[in-house]
């Protein structure tokens, strides 16, 4: 009897030895004369358990992890092919609390199958949204997106429906194309949800892009994918080819008479190219300097044409919305934050990984219940929310609900959903220094507040670190921050003050360096 064994092909699994585990399983099965079918699936997103090996048993899938190649012979000896007990055994995958407690809509399929198995994709509900969209007028599709309450998952949280409507309302013709650009630059430290989905369920993103093309009248899509993600580039490129062969991409989508094609384009290691106008410059083959707005990309974007720019997760939410209805999506969430958010638990955390939950879950539930506290076992001190431009929060803020407005009111932001945890050994003044340094390295250089402000800021924090004129230099940092916030062309310079000022406000003791230096 053939037994199916799953070993993820995701970069997160391969980075901790999944290829060696897969090879060891194949070799051991051969030695024992056992018939094993190895499937390289996507990751379930339970990243502290990777490589997470699953076995399909008559009673469902059973998980083991984290598995090392050296454990494989032992697993066979324990009868893992029949779900046998073993110290690495985790029981039925679906019953793992971390997974069971989640509300996975966008990530419903990751880890279930080989991500490039189109038949499996369809069997698990894929293409239902696109079929629905093909039977609808573009206006009706846009209306569904609007009604769902979906907001941009790239960071700014702009209502997706409004953007789609703006692009739809622009005139188009054979010589005046429109574009759909999928922002897959995912440069924020502490985020990997785009990557997990690109490697684990690429068809879902492409399906979302095709729907976006049909809805806005665009016939061409581009994915701007960061070069740091070679596995995602390979998987997405292959997924495009598979959809082309199956007739879901090309001049005539599934016999509808409407066309859409998709090109995968690589970034080149510039964080700023995640900013949409800088991304468009880069897609045109230029330096990734930001453009002044207006005009907005929806009116004048790629090559000056109307362009829908959305994050990977925004686009990937759309098939579910079309397939299940806008109201079903709206039912998740709170206030003006509707649906689910892919939270990413990272940094010094015991159980890091992907947690998709309706908006409104508290930071404490994420960090303590899902995450299990710090990896080091030391006390939690801070978390940075929403990437390198996001605020640091402290322990009293753990009860904040994760919702765009609630976080903004607390002086923080959700961004792309990353939560980077730090224990009590962190030096927050050093983190403030790093925020300026990162801006200095990654600024596109076009506007002075960002370009010069970052350098001045770093130098000034360094003076504080050395205990020089601390009170005066802290005032200087506040002034500089205000200038950057108000005078920068984009949110790179505009938001760099957020991590800096939140660190100073919540952890003033770390900036109080004078006595320590004087005592030396």
């Amino acid at each position: 009897m053939t037994v199916t064994v799953y070993v993820p092909r995701d970069a997160a699994a391969k980075a901790v030895g999944a290829d060696a585990v897969a090879a060891a399983i194949a070799a051991e099965a051969a030695v024992r004369g056992l018939d094993v079918r190895l499937v390289r699936n996507g990751s379930r997103g339970l990243l502290w358990l990777e490589p997470l090996v699953e076995v399909a048993t008559p009673h469902g899938r059973v998980a083991y992890g984290p598995v090392d190649a050296a454990d494989v012979a032992d697993l066979f000896a324990a009868g893992f092919l029949a779900g046998g007990e073993h110290p690495l055994g985790l029981g039925p995958t679906d019953e793992i609390a971390y997974l069971k407690a989640q509300q996975r809509l966008t990530f419903a399929r990751i880890g279930l199958a080989d991500p490039l198995d189109l038949q499996a994709y369809e069997d698990q509900g894929g293409l239902a949204g696109l079929r629905q969209a093909l039977a609808m007028a573009p206006e009706a599709v846009v209306e569904q997106v609007t009604q769902s309450g979906l907001r941009g998952r790239g960071g700014a949280g702009f209502p997706a429906g409004i953007k789609w409507k703006t692009v739809l309302d622009q005139p188009a013709g054979p010589d005046s194309p429109k574009y759909v650009c999928c922002n897959a630059d995912e440069g924020d430290s502490g985020t990997f949800a785009d990557r997990l989905l690109m490697e684990g369920d690429p068809f879902c993103i492409l399906e979302g892009m095709i729907i976006a093309g049909l809805a806005t009248g665009a016939a061409e899509g581009l994915v701007y994918l960061r070069s740091e993600y070679p596995d995602a580039i390979a998987t997405m490129t292959e997924a495009v080819a598979i959809l082309e062969r199956a007739g879901w991409l090309g001049a005539d989508i599934a016999g509808s008479g409407r066309g859409f094609r998709i090109e995968i384009r690589r970034g080149a290691g510039a964080y700023i190219c995640g900013e949409e106008s800088s991304m468009l410059e880069s897609l045109e083959g230029r330096r990734g300097t930001v453009r002044a707005k207006p005009p907005i990309p929806a009116i004048a974007g790629l090559f000056g044409r109307p362009t829908l720019v959305n994050n990977v997760l925004t686009l990937a939410s759309v098939p579910w919305i079309l397939g299940h209805g806008a109201d079903a999506y709206r039912d998740f969430g709170m206030g003006r934050s509707r649906g689910t958010q892919a939270f990413q638990l990272a940094g010094n955390i015991r159980r890091g990984g992907l947690v998709e939950m309706a908006f409104g879950v508290t930071l404490r539930e994420l960090v303590e219940d899902f995450g299990g506290g710090t990896a080091s076992g030391r006390p939690f001190r801070s978390a940075q929310l929403g990437g390198p431009l996001g605020a640091y929060v402290d322990a009293p803020m753990l009860d904040l609900p994760m919702d765009y407005e609630a976080l903004a009111d607390a002086g923080a932001m959700l961004g792309h959903g990353g939560v980077v945890v730090f224990d009590d050994t962190v030096d927050m003044a050093e983190m403030a220094r790093f925020a300026f340094e990162f801006c200095e390295i990654e600024s596109c250089g076009k506007c002075t507040p960002c370009r010069v402000g970052a350098t001045r800021g770093r130098e000034t924090v360094e003076k504080v670190l050395r205990g020089e004129d601390v009170a005066r230099n802290l005032v200087l940092i506040e002034d500089l921050a205000e200038l950057m916030r108000d005078g920068s062309l984009c949110a790179m310079g505009g938001l760099t003050p957020m991590p800096v000022l939140s660190a100073i406000r919540l952890f003033p003791e770390d900036f109080d360096r004078a006595p320590a230096v004087a005592a030396e």
Binding site: A15, W48, G190, R266, G285, G347, V421, I441
Partner: protein
């Protein structure tokens, strides 16, 4: 137009890109200026670097000025004028990795290899910083000759470097 300057040593057997290589790479992308970054990636994959001497010909093919091409090459962190050593370590120093001790890990690595961050050791190990590899739940993380490694310790990092060094030596022999 031909190449103006020879490549630095260590680029492998094809030190001087033949005009046909650049022509081929540009043609693969339809000689479109919008595809410049893709063309530069392809060139760097072939030669290990984007040598200064290649810029003029690329510009000519795409109907751009050499200054425009140079501007693009110099803007993006990925492109290098000279090839890295046989073992290229890109180690993450973004926040999530810092939360798990990446800074100290990098310092110790540089000390062991006897090289500053950004440089190439006598043994041919290039150590560079990157900002997030998307492995932030399994920090610290690094890429060694393109292969990803997470949950790094000094030993795991050294083992990854040694494996690539052995591979590079095997390929050269």
């Amino acid at each position: 137009m031909s190449i103006e300057a020879p490549l630095a040593s260590g680029a492998g057997p094809d030190d001087t890109p033949e005009p046909s290589l650049i022509a081929r790479l540009c043609a693969r992308h339809g000689d479109r200026p919008a595809a410049l970054i893709e063309i530069l990636h392809d060139l760097q994959e072939a030669l290990g670097a984007v040598p200064d001497g290649a810029l003029g010909e690329i510009a000519g093919r795409l109907n751009l000025t050499r200054a425009e091409v140079h501007g693009v090459v110099s803007f993006y962190h990925d492109f290098r004028a000279r090839p890295a050593g046989p073992v290229q370590v890109k180690v993450c120093r973004a926040e999530a990795c810092q939360a798990m001790g990446a800074r100290a890990l990098i310092e110790r690595l540089c000390a062991r290899q006897g090289v500053a961050l950004g440089g190439t050791s006598a043994g041919g190990v290039t150590i560079e910083a990157v900002y997030c590899l998307g492995l932030c739940a399994q920090s610290p993380a690094a890429q060694v000759n393109g292969r990803l490694h997470a949950r790094l310790t000094d030993d795991r990092l050294d083992a990854a470097i040694a494996a690539e060094a052995a591979g590079a030596a095997g390929a050269a022999a």
